[in-house]
């Protein structure tokens, strides 16, 4: 996808036209943004079938709710990614219990032990995060890891505690202190 396709002004126009019921604008919006949303959904949900389902849900919601978008709510792609992430969080909350009880013949599910690549690997290295990346550097390792795991994996405090092998209270405080430091840094 070229950056011209994700030009915010173009996306704002496409969202406005989509909100008015223009299916062609909606198709163009989908073409311009779906690969970004899909990347996030695949990252969070791990399974293609879940990511497919979530992407479809998201765009159906965007189709229904595009008229509620206003530029002061942030850049259009930011807004769309936020819609996708909340949807992924909902799905994870609903589907994770199933993950631990695989049915025979099902695709191998994700378990907490075999996440493979650490979620912060790669993402932090990549460009485009600007100030956020700079501010992430200020965080202690556990604070950064807990914030990134919560963001990319949608983990609850309990899941973070399990994944990071630390007491619940400790993990909560890592998350809070991490966010608090981020807030101070991003405010500067």
């Amino acid at each position: 996808m070229s950056s011209a396709n994700a030009d915010p002004e173009r996306l704002i126009r496409l969202l406005a036209e989509t909100g008015a019921g223009n299916q062609r604008a909606f198709a163009q919006l989908y073409q311009a943004c779906s690969s970004h949303l899909y990347a996030l959904l695949l990252r969070m949900l791990k399974r293609r079938d879940w990511a497919d389902e979530a992407l479809q849900d998201c765009f159906l919601r965007v189709w229904q709710k595009a008229d509620t978008y206003a530029p002061e709510k942030g850049a259009p792609l930011t807004w769309l990614l936020t819609v996708a992430r909340y949807r992924a969080l909902d799905l994870l909350r609903m589907k994770r219990p199933e993950v631990e009880m695989p049915e025979e013949g099902e695709e191998a599910p994700m378990t907490f032990a075999d996440l493979g690549q650490s979620p912060e690997d790669g993402a932090v290295e990549r460009e485009g995060m600007g100030m956020l990346r700079e501010c992430m550097k200020d965080l202690q390792d556990e604070q950064k890891r807990s914030v990134l795991l919560a963001y990319y994996e949608g983990y609850t405090h309990q899941e973070l505690a399990r994944q990071m092998n630390a007491p619940l209270g400790t993990v909560k405080s890592w998350v809070r202190r991490g966010l608090s430091r981020l807030r101070e840094c991003l405010d500067r």
Partner: protein, 263 residues
């Protein structure tokens, strides 16, 4: 909880957006944010900043089937801001390459869709019960009485749930004020052995059973609790004949999706 403390509000907003604020605390903060501009601003702050983490990922092209499904869905579900009986914004264009999106279709009104669903209800009322309904431990969606069809409740959430790798799908409408959930089954039900399909409403407190889905025709179920918000989450699980014996899903989730407030 006190929200007048700016630091606390900042932290709650941050954890809300991050997703670690859960359950009742999440719902409370959501309610607060509806009327509290400072909380809204905090949420927006974090949504904007944390989205940097998502936009750093390498884009992944989704499979074409997703767009094809969306095309079908948007034909019957107009955007919420579209007033009834309006013309498409642009004139019809010739269909281009496969991935270039659909030509504008006539705007369907949601009420027209509901009227169609009502007509289907009347048409299938003689259809009887689902073949999966025997020995039900869980209420089975029943064919509605004619009076129910005419009842127009103030709020309706609509959803389309498809069973993967089949043509089976359900159009669902949830009417909280009427305590009613209606399911219209269509497509071909794949042979899944001796099972029932149970419909769940996903709440912050966990899944709540709505009843067993019909595999043909239409059925109505009781809505067991009050809901609000713009969207509900529904899911279908594969259960022993008659439904989950535990009151919680025991089998795999076959499909799930949002039910979007349409009226």
């Amino acid at each position: 909880m006190r929200y007048d403390n700016a630091k606390l509000r900042q932290m709650l907003a941050a954890e809300y957006v991050l997703g670690t604020l859960r359950g009742r605390a999440r719902r409370r903060f959501e309610r607060l944010a509806k009327t509290d501009a400072a909380a809204q601003a905090e949420i927006r702050f974090w949504e904007t900043r944390l989205a940097g983490l998502a936009s750093s990922l390498v884009p992944q092209t989704p499979p074409p089937a997703i767009w094809q499904n969306l095309e079908q869905q948007i034909d019957t579900n107009p955007p919420s801001g579209v007033t009834p009986i309006r013309k498409p914004v642009t004139a019809a264009l010739p269909k281009q390459a496969a991935n270039s999106g659909p030509p504008p279709a006539p705007m369907w009104r949601i009420l027209a869709g509901l009227a169609t669903a009502a007509a289907v209800v009347l048409a299938v009322m003689v259809g009887g019960r689902s073949p999966l309904s025997e020995k039900a431990a869980v209420p089975v969606a029943a064919a509605p009485a004619p009076a129910q069809v005419a009842t127009a409740a103030a709020t309706v959430y609509v959803s389309l749930l498809k069973l993967p790798e089949s043509t089976m799908q359900w159009t669902l409408s949830v009417r909280p004020e009427a305590d009613e959930v209606k399911a219209v089954a269509s497509g071909e039900y794949p042979a899944l052995g001796q099972h029932s399909l149970e419909l769940w409403l996903i709440t912050d407190a966990g899944p709540v059973s709505l009843g067993l889905l019909p595999t043909t025709g239409t059925g109505t179920m009781k809505m067991p609790l009050r809901v609000k918000g713009d969207q509900l989450t529904l899911a279908v699980s594969l259960e022993p004949v008659g439904g989950s014996p535990t009151g919680q899903p025991t089998g795999p989730v076959l499909t799930s999706g949002p039910a979007i407030k349409a009226v």
